[in-house]
Amino acid sequence: MKDKIRIGCGAGFAGDRIEPALILTEKGNLDYLVLECLAERTIALAQKRKQHNSSLGYDELLEKRLINLLPLLVKHQTRLITNMGAANPVGAAMKVVEMANKQGISIKVAAVTGDDVFQFITGTEKSLEDGKPINAFGKIISANAYLGYEAILPALNTKADIIITGRVADPSLFLAPMIYEFGWDETDYSLLGKGTVLGHLLECAGQITGGYFADPISKPVPNMEILGHPYVDVDALGNGKISKVAGTGGSITVQTVKEQLLYEVLNPFEYITPDVKADFSKVQIEEIGPDEIYISGGLGFAKPSNLKVSVGYEAGFKGIGEISYAGAHALERGKLAAEIIQKRIGHSFPNLKIDLIGYNSLHPMELSNKSSPYEVRLRVAALCAQKIDAQLIGEEVEALYTNGPAGGGGARKYVEEVIGIVSILLDRKKIIPEFQVFTS
């Protein structure tokens, strides 16, 4: 049994950069690499792709991320744990085996399933958001439970080099190898809490090394263009040292760690995952060297009896149109354009959202800069049941070229299919994780 393991996080969201994971694997001396690539909505979209082609439905960047990573993982004997399976972990595992065969690489890949609970859903379950039955939101297209470390442990036991999951709570991707390597007692919730703290700190990758943090005036971060992703050295007591590969950009400080510790945490005294209810409030964050932060003091309590399930539903179509104005009276002309649009189509679109980018599109109105900007961009958006109605938004904005204020330029129009997400709870006894192993 090891007394210390090193886990790196090479991706913190579906669209993350590819290079940092390669650097981590090549130079980071990792035992494990985690790639977290699955947002709530991503899995619902993936489910739709799988409906069209049953061999698809895994992360669309799977091949792009792994093509150069595979040989490095083998060379450095680093095991990969990723949720890039999305709606089809088995399909993803088969694809990875196919890629390995092409490169003459011999590996074992495990696919973890069981998160897809669509078959258990009746539609009458009440949403956690507002108590309405979930079938009142729209046609339900997916239902995926957040699995915990328990789903990953059996796959680790097979000695698989690569473990591909669908929906798993992000910190569980990190907690599983800790429990596996240290043989932690699964009822020692204090240990599970500590491991969850470390997983939560790493799960957004660059967000702890200076990404989503840097401000050149108040929080300068060096060499952002080569931002490195983090790794943690975890010991058998669940304490960890977070650092990054020497020579990469960014910085890890008490400040970056504090921001990430609290990121997306609804209640810092009780952070609920499938594995544990973790208490983040007494975490100790200590700088022990440049870009080296020692983490201890996490706590934990018994895991919940229900698992959260993300339910995806068809929510219609979003229509968006944009056009810009600059120079003298830019703001006034932008406001005139907004008024024209409101009068032309506002009666048909009760939820029409009209903003001026550069003036009031991001923050509540009363905080907006009262001085006149040199340029503004009108943005009009509406959510519609029918695609044809959503298209009208962009068409009307584009028509402002010849039917609106002077000097309108750069009009663009978009229509997006919208997948909504609501959550329900499901008795965890109903959910049975499984795994399959494939070898190249």
């Binding site: 108040s218 929080k219 921001e259 609804l266 923050h363 909504g420």
Partner: protein, 101 residues
């Protein structure tokens, strides 16, 4: 002379569905007590009256020297169906820091 929160603290915004989560962390830990005293739930609610239509919960974290605000019904439905430009509300940390002390 009025000071903006941005001069003494930093913040990160996160989202869970229609809930906005804002951390508030003083650069100097000695300013923590001042933040606890001054940046109340009422002040945050008032500052964001056009943004947040639900309850605001404040968690005071003396060991971390940080405050967390969990704001319900704050993101026009949330990332998936919101019509806002910034559907996640990621830029709203800097809206909090615009608050005057």
């Amino acid at each position: 002379m009025t000071r903006k929160l941005a001069e003494i603290a930093h913040s990160r915004a996160g989202d869970k569905g229609n809930t906005l989560i804002l951390s508030l962390i003083p650069y100097d830990p000695l300013d923590f007590d001042l933040l606890v005293k001054k940046i109340t739930v009422e002040k945050v609610k008032n500052h964001f009256k056009d943004q947040i239509s639900g309850e605001v919960i404040r968690y005071v974290l003396p060991e971390l020297k940080a405050i967390q605000f969990t704001c319900l019904n704050a993101l026009s439905g949330g990332v998936n169906t919101s019509l806002a430009l910034d559907t996640h509300g990621k830029s709203l940390s800097y809206a909090l820091l615009e608050m005057e002390l």
